[in-house]
């Protein structure tokens, strides 16, 4: 991963699919059906000849492509659609945990969830958390990528060090974060005390939220860094040189030339980061609240887990996951309809 040649990085498309699959059932129905613009995305690479790859391939039998697709479709069906349908079904039932009897209750589970002010508090925190984590993870990742891209000597070492953190599993990241923010021994707590800020993670809502956001951002920066860096390296040198002749201000060149050319990468990362903040931060949150959410902030996914797996309330928890699926669906449609329009792939 530490080589600096232009394209050892996995293509965004391939990584994108892998990640969508990791990110759980609720995202997939929305993403699987969309066309990821393979041909269009590839167009931003220097190698113009490769655009020919977008040409249609002819199959001898019309069924052959479906046969090739079958394993992937089977996986999607078994692991994503089937559980989703089950979740939708059980959200209309009240069921005893052991499955002895279930009563059809219509929309009662949804009404109970939507009536709860607590649920809206968690939803509000989730929105703020997602926005902040996405913003800072993208901004810092981009900043580091731009700076690393400019480094000539020893750039491989720089890049390796920056990417390193990505290999840490979320619960481990949570544990490390927890140690930094530990009430008794945390170095960051000691540091903040110099400035008169007594951080109490696990006790104070705001402090815990702050710690969670810091750890979640820290964990995601390397991922964004990799993609931004590969995106930057895909920008033709001729374009950069031409821009450098026209404009002396590096900052201005960045805003008018580099950033628009990075837009496809940035858009892809936006979706991945939003999904990350909504779902993949579960491990971090679980470790940081130490199994006891108490008055600490949690996200909607964690609430689904608490009610379903710890509280054994299947109906209520299913209703919450259906609501979550709808939120992701709306978000994805919004992103593709309104933001993708501003992205130019060529």
């Amino acid at each position: 991963m530490s080589e600096a040649s232009p394209s050892p990085w996995p293509s965004p498309r391939a990584r994108g699919e892998g990640n969508a699959a990791d990110n759980g059932a609720s995202l997939l129905p929305a993403m699987a059906g969309r066309r990821w613009p393979a041909g269009r995305m590839r167009g931003r690479f220097k190698d113009q000849g490769r655009q020919a790859a977008a040409k249609r391939v002819q199959f001898a039998s019309p069924f052959l492509p479906y046969l090739f697709l079958a394993p992937q479709l089977a996986i999607i069906f078994v692991f994503f659609y089937w559980p989703s349908v089950q979740a939708i079904q059980s959200s209309f039932y009240l069921e005893d945990p052991f499955g002895f009897g279930s009563t059809f209750v219509g929309l009662t589970n949804y009404a109970d969830v939507l009536k709860s002010t607590e649920y809206f508090g968690i939803a509000r925190f989730t929105a703020i958390f997602t926005a902040l984590v996405t913003f800072f993870a993208l901004a810092i990742g981009l900043l580091l990528a731009v700076k690393a891209d400019g480094v000539i000597r020893g750039n491989a070492a720089y890049k390796t060090l920056l990417i390193w953190v990505y290999a840490i599993a979320p619960p481990v990241a949570g544990l490390i974060g927890m140690m930094f923010f530990n009430q008794h021994i945390g170095p960051l707590v000691e540091f903040a005390r110099w400035f008169g800020w007594d951080i109490k993670v696990g006790l104070d809502y705001f402090d815990t939220a702050f710690a969670m956001i810091v750890v979640a951002v820290w964990k995601q920066i390397p991922y964004n860094f990799i993609f931004f860096l590969s995106g930057l390296q895909g920008i033709p040198v001729s374009v950069r040189e031409a821009a450098a002749i026209d404009c002396r201000s590096e900052l201005r060149r960045f805003w008018t030339i580099i950033l628009p050319l990075l837009a496809p990468t940035a858009f892809f990362l936006l979706i991945i980061n939003v999904t990350y903040a909504l779902f993949d931060t579960f491990g971090i949150i679980d470790v940081m609240v130490k199994d006891k959410a108490a008055n600490n902030p949690i996200t909607l996914v964690y609430k689904v887990y608490m009610d379903g797996f710890r509280g054994n309330d299947l109906g209520g928890s299913s209703a919450q996951s259906v609501i979550l699926m709808l939120i992701v669906l709306v978000l994805t449609v919004f992103q593709f309809r309104f933001i993708e329009r501003r992205v130019h792939y060529n």
């Binding site: 002895f100 008794h184 008055n295 509280g311 054994n312």
Partner: protein, 432 residues
């Protein structure tokens, strides 16, 4: 998860190769660390004591995870023979009629006699139905007790408090001596459930939930409980009480380090505390309020019980009954009591430990059992509340708000009662 699976696989391979003729039974539990090792030792002792049955214990993580795994397995028809379920999950499994075979029925069917009076009072009712029949077999049982930093009390020149009134008198002296007077590790168990038991106050309607699931309501807006939390809040503001959040260990740590004078922990903490405490310590009962009439009764049992899951063959059920008999024998109880710090659940085991001189050597080990042996009051026998793990989460949230200043005690208790009652109503629908 992977670890659990591989352990299970190894354990399974082991058990099938070593005992080809024996009936295999499985036991899922939620214990880790030293307590998990002791479970393996208990199983080994059982397997060595007879040849008809081979018991395989499997750790499923925490108490909550063990219950969730057991439920999921039951729905898939792959349930273990024995499932360990913690105190707060008791209502979930006991109200699921048909999921378990009551321990008492299982044992009598296997040809053993069953004497309810052989068990100490504090454990006799908690996992029993309203007629007193044992549904779960009490296993690891604990009581919330107060640990004492002997050096701190000596330095301040005070005696350990029996009541909260006495605590109020000595707290300033402990503070002046440079100690945090009081910490605790679980507000739900120690200052809510066992506030009701120690002070003999009703916790919920319908006889604390034992009589029926329908229309059971919490009574946490009780003025006495409100007073308790107002006091805790005031003590915290005065520096007599410190709170480090809902995590158990964050609060225990200051006591282990010798910075706190008194810590409310579990009788089951004794085993670990002997290794981690940096100063000499002793223990006494969880204090009560002298001003409350009839207070000073025994506490609810904490910990967990073993449930025999239904849907198994007679031969396997016989083995489970054999194991339950083995487990309640005084020798095994005494071994488990010594190894973990959990209390002995039968009177015979308690007597054996006394006779052996164990409590002369380690008086702290007897505090929990003595507290459970205190006279019972009308409201100190137990509680049976559905979705109780979720209700505890609401309590943790609201108590956290009290101490971070986000909510007043009155508002917090009202929120717990309102949301808790909604959950109880939901549970009544699922169980009905």
């Amino acid at each position: 998860m992977l670890k659990t699976i591989s352990l299970a696989a190894i354990a399974l391979a082991f058990s099938t190769t070593t005992s080809l003729a024996a009936t295999n039974i499985t036991w899922w539990h939620g214990m880790a660390g030293r307590n998990g090792e002791v479970i393996n030792e208990v199983a080994q002792k059982f397997n060595a004591s007879q040849s008809a049955c081979a018991l395989t214990p499997v750790s499923k993580g925490t108490y909550e995870e063990a219950l969730a795994s057991g439920i999921a397995a039951f729905r898939a028809g792959e349930q273990p023979n024995i499932l360990q379920v913690f105190d707060a999950g008791a209502a979930t499994i006991i109200n699921a009629k048909g999921a378990v075979i009551p321990a008492e029925d299982l044992i009598t069917k296997a040809g053993y006699s069953f004497d309810r009076n052989a068990f100490i009072d504090g454990v006799r009712y908690f996992y029993a139905d309203s007629e007193g029949k044992f549904v779960g077999m009490p296993f690891n049982s604990s009581a919330p007790i107060m640990y004492i930093n002997d050096e701190a009390l000596k330095k301040a020149g005070v005696e350990a408090p029996k009541t909260w009134e006495e605590f109020e008198v000595i707290a300033p002296k402990l503070k002046d001596a440079g100690f945090i007077p009081l910490v605790q590790s679980q507000l739900t168990w120690q200052f809510t459930e066992n506030f009701f038991s120690r002070n003999n106050i009703q916790f919920a309607t319908n006889n604390n939930g034992y009589d029926s699931v329908v229309d059971t309501k919490l009574k946490v807006t009780d003025p006495n409980l409100e007073m308790m939390f107002e006091k805790l809040k005031a003590w915290k503001d005065q520096g007599y009480f410190a709170f480090y959040g809902a995590g158990w260990n964050d609060n225990q740590k200051v006591f282990e380090e010798g910075k706190a004078a008194l810590w409310i922990g579990s009788s089951g903490s004794f085993g670990g505390l002997q290794k981690t405490a940096t100063m000499p310590f002793s223990a006494t009962f969880l204090p009560y309020w002298n001003a409350i009439k009839g207070a000073g009764t025994n506490s609810f049992i904490g910990g967990a019980a073993l449930f025999a899951m239904s849907g198994k063959s007679d031969a396997e059920n016989k083995c489970v009954a054999d194991f339950f008999q083995f487990l309640t024998s005084p020798e095994v109880q005494y071994f488990y009591h010594k190894a973990t710090g959990y209390v002995a659940i039968t009177k015979a085991a308690h007597e054996l430990a006394q006779k052996d001189g164990y409590y002369k050597e380690k008086p702290v080990a007897e505090v929990g059992i003595k507290q459970l042996l205190l006279p019972a009051g009308e409201w100190s026998k137990g509680y049976r509340l559905g979705f109780y793990p979720q209700i505890r989460e609401i309590m943790e949230r609201e108590y956290g708000r009290i101490f971070s200043g986000e909510a007043t005690v009155k508002d917090a208790l009202e929120a717990i009662e309102k949301e808790g009652n909604e959950l109880l109503a939901r549970f009544a629908k699922t169980a009905g």
